[in-house]
């Protein structure tokens, strides 16, 4: 609005004035017109004042001390660039195991479970428990010794091959030998404790 007014009045517009300043060349009008010269001087003065104010503001903010610190900081950073990186031992979270190990662990777990299942299945099929096959026999023997044969047990298991006490005596002898071989005190310090522990053979003798 102001520039239009100036132009109408026959003076340089603001843009023309700025162009004259930027190019550093004074137009013929500016040479002749006192009012425009004043405006031009005022423009230069304004810019000069702002330049000084801006310089002062920046120089007050960046004091010589601050600049010295800045320079030393730059040089320190450059020096650090040349040094090899040092990794500090710092408390950190447990490292996640690589996927290969995790897969391996999984296989171990699966193998253990499979082994357990196979073992149980084999155990059921073979029935290797030393007393497993004798419980029924012992029950029928007990009842037989009372003079009352157990018809239900007999019908369920069919005719027994050997129901006489001879079989039990054989089993007991075998177990006794086995226990003597396996459970004998191997550590002298535990011998006293071992002596206090009841044996299967003692129990069997009591039963008998």
């Amino acid at each position: 609005m102001l520039s239009v007014k100036r132009l109408v009045q026959g003076h340089l517009s603001e843009r023309e004035m700025m162009a004259a300043w930027q190019e550093g060349r004074l137009s013929a009008h500016l040479d002749a017109c006192v009012a425009c010269q004043d405006r031009y001087v005022e423009l230069l003065s304004f810019l000069d004042r702002q330049r000084l104010a801006a310089l002062d503001a920046a120089d007050d903010a960046f004091t010589p001390d601050r600049l010295a610190a800045q320079k030393s900081q730059v040089l320190r950073r450059l020096e650090n660039l040349a040094r090899p990186v040092r990794v500090l031992a710092f408390p950190h979270q447990r490292r996640v195991a690589p996927s290969v190990n995790r897969a391996g662990r999984r296989w171990v777990a699966v193998a253990a479970a499979a082994g357990l299942i196979i073992g149980l299945a084999a155990g059921l099929a073979v029935n290797v428990h030393p007393f497993g096959s004798d419980f029924a026999q012992r029950g029928s023997f007990t009842r037989a010794s009372n003079g009352r044969p157990d018809a239900r047990a007999e019908s369920a298991s069919g005719p027994r091959v050997q129901t006489t006490p001879d079989r039990l005596v054989t089993d007991e002898a075998f177990l006794t030998e086995l226990e003597a071989a396996l459970d004998g005190p191997r550590v002298e310090e535990l011998a006293a404790l071992d002596a206090l522990t009841p044996r299967v053979r003692d129990v069997a003798l009591l039963v008998r």
Partner: protein, 219 residues
């Protein structure tokens, strides 16, 4: 830019070219310590000017300080890509301006999501506005401080590009061509930015006592 300033600038550019090529040579032959010492001279020669540009562009002392440091480190690391046909200060200022622009963008993103930071809860003015001025007397100091405050406030209202162009041309005395090379702007665009910046500043500072007096006298 006056004749003496121009001569100084020429001498400075020659020294820059000499130092930069020497640093490059030292780095190539493994003389890191000597290269850093030589680069320290470049830092010393440019840090004040760089700090002024960054300070007025970013309007924060600490951030400007960091931006200048980053620019020097980046310049050192990429000195191999520096070609002597471009003045070192133009090449370096381009690094500085790009870094500062990234910081402005990052700050804008932060401010979009976080609450604005008020540095002085009493009047809300920034540290930049409260920068004390040096002067021979308390009155002069007060006037200078007031002038700085008003200019800072007015500069703060300019768009980033206009502010940068104004500071580089007016405060640092760069030519439009060099400003264009450093900012990646066309020379005529630089002139337009400068024109708009000055016009807006004059409008914003028109109620300044000295300006008002002069304008009244002209009318």
């Amino acid at each position: 830019m006056g004749a003496s300033q121009s001569a100084l600038a020429t001498v400075g550019r020659e020294a820059d070219a000499r130092d930069a090529s020497e640093v490059k040579r030292l780095l190539a032959c493994g003389g890191d310590a000597e290269a850093r010492e030589r680069f320290a001279e470049i830092v010393h020669r440019h840090q004040r000017r760089a700090s002024r540009i960054a300070y007025h562009y970013l309007r924060d002392v600490a951030e400007a300080d960091e931006a200048v440091q980053d620019a020097f480190v980046k310049a050192y690391l990429h000195l191999g890509s520096f070609r002597e046909e471009l003045p070192f200060e133009v090449w370096f200022t381009r690094i500085l301006v790009n870094g500062s622009l990234d910081r402005i963008k990052s700050r804008a993103r932060r401010e979009r999501w976080l609450l604005p930071r008020t540095e002085n809860p009493d009047d809300g003015s920034s540290v930049l506005d409260q920068t004390p001025a040096s002067g021979p007397s308390p009155e002069d100091a007060l006037l200078a401080s007031e002038r700085q405050r008003r200019l800072s406030a007015a500069l703060g209202q300019l768009p980033d590009r206009q502010r940068l162009v104004f500071v580089m041309t007016q405060v640092e005395g760069w030519s439009s061509k060099d400003v264009g090379a450093a900012t990646g702007l066309n020379e005529s665009t630089v002139r337009v930015h400068l024109f708009r910046a000055i016009r807006k500043l004059r409008k914003l500072l028109s109620d300044e006592p000295e300006t008002a007096e002069r304008e009244r006298a002209v009318r």
